[in-house]
Amino acid sequence: MPAKSSYTDSVKDYLRLEHTIESDVVRELNTHLEDKSHELIESGLSEEEASITAASLLGPPRVVARQMYEVYSQGSWRQALFAALPHLLIAALFSLHFWKDTIWLFGIVIAVACAVIYGWCHGKPAWLFPWLGYCLTPVIAIGILLIYLPGNWTWFAAIAYIPLALLVVVPITKKTIRKDWIFASLMLLPIPIVIGWMLALELDDTLIWYEQLQGFASQIALSFAVLALTAATFIRIRQRWAKVGILLILEILILVIVALGNNSAIGFGGWLLLVLLSLMLVLGPALLERKIKASDQKQLRLYNKSAR
């Protein structure tokens, strides 16, 4: 029954839930279509007509999938807190001036590593992705630090570093997008903020940037506190469009804090570039997901062809 399988395939495409829930939902809808088709065949319809009618009576797959997504997309308060925790730790690091304390820094690195390993091995729940973002942030931060190398060393280092960095960032982002692109957006959220603050500091002069960091500490803490609020709200909201909206709005609000905090050191042009980067990081994963799905389907078709 092609109508039945195309219907459940469409639902599956829109669902974006955990694999076990997804297969349960699809299996259940399949049984419903079976029963309904059977009833319609008994009432005199042909098998094909019955299959098409049964699918249309269930309603548009996109709507069914959206309603189902909204049942499961809301995380608990505990999950929201856990998603906000890495950002809260960074906020505490700066508000309490613990960024000078090696034990605190080491503690945060250990916490991030433990949370990422645990979450990755336990079905990649939604709270994992803000933690995962902090595994990628140092890779980007080191890239920015290369700007401050003397002379031509910047270029040599960049040539060597960029492929290495991409080797780390691309597979993780791709895997996250395969789960759901919206999690990749959540994961990449701190990157423009970290870049913004790094550009605000005069990193080539050790004395100055250390002083500047002390001066900016409360604003840096505030920006990460808002980031924590963003992650928690994201987990608690059911609707997908609202999740994307909250990421965009609060990210831009944070960038306003960054711009005001560093006394326009990055300038309006720099700020606009950061906003553009944020838009790219929040919405770009959606486009990448389409590409990944298209290439997956192409590979599947090739595989089926060769299997025949």
């Binding site: 309904k36 548009p60 049942v71």
Partner: protein, 111 residues
């Protein structure tokens, strides 16, 4: 029609809990039973039933289990939980109070 839809939307959870409290059922079964028992008055949009069932399951009021029918096919049966039974009793009491109050207002005033 819109008013009827809104009324049904507000009572879906209570109707489902009541029905499943009588005996465990699966989706298609539920649609048919509701239609039969209400003499065709309640006609569920089929696609909205499953999200409602899953929402009640996530809230811990129902529990879904795959079971094999005598024909060999498998269906996802929904069972009411203790929490679900408590919620159903509360909702029914509220509904009865509400319908009594509505009836009191609708009936012509006496004296």
């Amino acid at each position: 029609m819109h008013y009827k839809r809104e009324l049904l939307k507000g009572s879906t959870d209570s109707l489902l809990l009541c029905l499943i409290n009588n005996q465990p059922m699966y989706g298609y079964n539920i649609i048919k039973e509701i239609e039969k028992r209400s003499n065709g008055y309640f006609q569920f949009k089929e696609g909205t039933l499953y999200p409602a069932l899953h929402r009640l399951e996530k809230a811990g009021l129902l529990q879904g289990r795959w079971q094999r029918l005598p024909s060999g096919q498998e269906r996802r049966y929904y069972y009411i939980t203790v929490k679900g039974q408590k919620a159903m009793v509360e909702r029914l009491a509220t509904w009865q109070d509400f319908s009594t109050a509505v009836a009191l207002i609708i009936q012509p005033a006496t004296g």
